[in-house]
């Protein structure tokens, strides 16, 4: 064994500090959140330590809550889709470019992460507002006679979320593109594949893990997004995180807010689970297919040998 290799116990020892941090800063609050979601709340008295299902029953009967939950899921899926469509070409460009072009692309991508979400959303306000740049330009060109409301709708939310989150998609895809050996592409070309076919048969399938990681990241982050949808969606197009905030901070109804948060947590987990299940079934079917062709050729070979 290597002189400096850690023993099993050494590794466990090293694991203790991150476990403590995770436990204190993540597991404990989540446990507390779940606990509070079962507590009773009275507007006059406040929290009554009486565990029951009332908060959840109330949510299930609330049409408005379901509308917001559905909007959150729907717009998060749309955001993920647009991030993938936009992020893939950007990732390809990022991988292929060199020198200052690559640096410039990186800066453009990372800018939204460095800038505060609030500042960025006000930036969109300047562009999309009733007296914003786009409205004034279109009116000035005579395309629109009156200015349109481009803000405070679902489109604006998706535009804003894609802007902030596309970088996660790009970086995940770029990482998996980077791991694709150029000799695979050359081998495909040498065997008769045009550049487009080589991309379809080699590059794209091999970049799928990156696409999947990016999609999970973007989806989870947009499910829990708060500032962007609140500022760009206005009062009529709320996200679930805003409702949680409203319950907990404005109405002091922590139990109800906690129940909403738990539902958000569960729906996100369920959707992630479905997507990973889908990926596994896909991989299983691919394996099944190759083993089938294998047996066909195998029996054929046996035939040719006898």
């Amino acid at each position: 064994m290597h002189k400096y290799a850690l023993s099993r116990r050494g590794w466990l020892l090293l694991l203790i500090p991150p476990l403590i941090v995770l436990g204190l800063l993540y597991l404990l609050p989540v446990f507390n959140l779940i606990r509070i979601s079962f507590v009773e709340y009275d507007p006059q008295v406040g929290i009554i330590p009486n565990y029951q299902l009332g908060n959840y029953v109330e949510l299930l009967g609330d049409g408005f809550y379901f509308e917001v939950l559905w909007r959150t899921i729907r717009l998060s899926l749309l955001t993920t889709l647009f991030c993938a469509l936009l992020g893939y070409p950007i990732a390809v460009y990022l991988i292929r470019s060199t020198g200052w072009r690559q640096t410039a692309m990186f800066i453009i991508l990372l800018m939204p992460l460095v800038t505060s979400v609030t500042v960025m959303s006000y930036g969109w306000l300047i562009l999309l507002g009733r007296n914003g740049v786009i409205n004034l330009t279109l009116a000035g060109l005579g395309i629109l006679d009156t200015s349109r409301q481009l803000m405070y709708n679902e489109t604006a939310i998706v535009v804003g979320l894609v802007h902030v989150l596309v970088v996660f998609m790009v970086i995940s895809i770029a990482a998996s593109l980077q791991s694709i050996d150029q000799s695979w592409i050359r081998a495909a070309r040498g065997l008769g594949a045009s550049p487009a076919t080589a991309f379809r048969t080699i590059t794209f399938p091999l970049s799928l893990p990156g696409l999947r990681t990016g999609a999970l990241l973007v989806f989870v982050l947009s499910m829990s997004a708060y500032a962007t949808p609140t500022l760009l969606g206005g009062t009529r197009h709320k996200f679930l995180s805003y409702l949680v905030y409203q319950q907990a901070i404005s109405l002091y109804n922590w139990p109800s807010g906690a129940a909403m948060a738990v539902v958000l947590l569960i729906s996100t987990t369920v959707l992630l689970f479905i997507s990973s299940l889908y990926a596994q079934i896909g991989a299983m079917r691919a394996n099944l297919r190759t083993s089938k062709t294998g047996t066909i050729s195998g029996s054929m070979n046996a035939g040719s040998e006898t």
Partner: protein, 358 residues
């Protein structure tokens, strides 16, 4: 009859010239090996043939048909890559079938031809496996099957043995040679290993700094190298500085006069290098001596018994001779003994000194 013809290839990467007037041609079914150290331009030449690199100048034709500007996918050339480049997300069957599917063949024919190719490389049972589940030698054979299943006009092999361990390398060398002979396909192979080149190739092109130094059958390249570089790169050589005296004599600094094989291209009294292969030098008894041999008396400085041969370093003044002996009686001597070395004039040769490449 010329099959593949390469004429006047020139190429530069930025300010660095990688190919300088590279020209050669091969006959149908012939195996040519491009041999040289890294950076000599052999891989670039291969990539020009495959269509991955567009040369600045020069032309490649197969059976008189020019390949200029033809993309790789239209060339119908089989390539085996140094790292094999098997597609990791496909089964062995799908890897080998890839080129046939690109050609739009019928499913039934694809199954038959892939099966035949896998049987040829003796790996029919691996069809459903992934490349990662195969050993290095198996991966190489699959890569070979994938390259030849498309029935290419030309086969390119890029350092085919460099990723195998020493024992497997010898095994695969004979196996690959047998396959190439059976298929009778025109082949260009790239390697930096002279033994591999000699084992596989009908002819060897020794490349250095973007140029072909010598192109000939293996025996000629070894026993009649055209330059100091070729002599040193292909096999071991003793090199001594001297001055030519006529066409068949040389005066070596500090050692005296020797007779050599006649070389008309060497000018009288010009600076030359005398080259003697270590296996051509014998240890002689004084009594054996007569005027037909070149002889030198020296002291044994080092003695290494290597099993199939004994390696000697014999010193005279500043000069050191590397000597390989296969006779066991040479073991009777020991370090510090005075010995007489001899070699035939026909076994040594001169190259011009201004050709100091190596």
């Amino acid at each position: 009859m010329e099959y593949l013809h390469v004429a006047g290839l020139e190429h530069s990467y930025g300010s660095q010239r990688v190919l300088e007037n590279v020209s050669f041609s091969i006959r149908a079914g012939e195996r040519l090996c491009l041999l040289g150290p890294s950076g000599c331009g052999k891989t670039t030449t291969l990539q020009v043939l495959a269509g991955f690199v567009k040369p600045d100048r020069g032309q490649v034709t197969i059976k008189g048909e020019p390949l200029d500007g033809m993309p790789p996918e239209k060339r119908n050339i089989g390539i085996m890559f140094q790292n094999y480049a098997l597609f990791p997300h496909m089964s062995v069957f799908d890897n080998v079938a890839f080129g046939l599917r690109m050609r739009g063949l019928e499913k039934k024919e694809i199954t038959t031809r892939v099966g035949d190719a896998l049987t040829l490389v003796r790996l029919p049972h691996t069809a459903s496996k992934r490349p990662a589940q195969l050993s290095g030698g198996e991966q190489q054979r699959i890569a070979f099957a994938r390259a030849i299943v498309i029935r290419p006009r030309l086969l390119l092999l890029d350092e085919p043995f460099s990723n195998l361990d020493a024992r497997l390398r010898l095994e695969m060398r004979t196996e690959l040679l047998d396959l190439l002979r059976e298929l009778d396909v025109a082949t260009v192979m790239v390697t930096h290993d002279q033994e591999e080149a000699m084992a596989i190739a009908d002819r060897i092109a020794v490349m250095y700094k973007g140029r072909i130094e010598q192109i000939d059958i293996p025996n000629e390249v070894y026993s009649n190298p055209s330059s100091l570089f070729v002599a040193r790169f292909v096999g071991e050589t003793n090199v001594f500085d001297g001055r030519a005296m006529g066409h068949d004599k040389v005066m070596v600094d500090g050692l005296g006069e020797f007779s050599v094989r006649k070389n008309q291209s060497i000018a009288n009294n010009s600076k030359v290098k005398l080259l003697v292969r270590p296996e051509h030098i014998e240890l002689a008894e004084k009594a054996d001596m007569n005027g037909q041999w070149n002889t030198v008396e020296g002291t044994v400085e080092r003695l290494l018994f290597l099993g199939h041969r004994t390696e000697w370093v014999v010193r005279k003044g500043e000069a050191r001779f590397l000597v390989w002996q296969s006779q066991p009686h040479s073991l009777m001597r020991k370090v510090g003994d005075t010995v007489t070395l001899r070699w035939r004039p026909s076994d040594c040769f001169l190259v011009a000194s201004e050709h100091v490449n190596a």
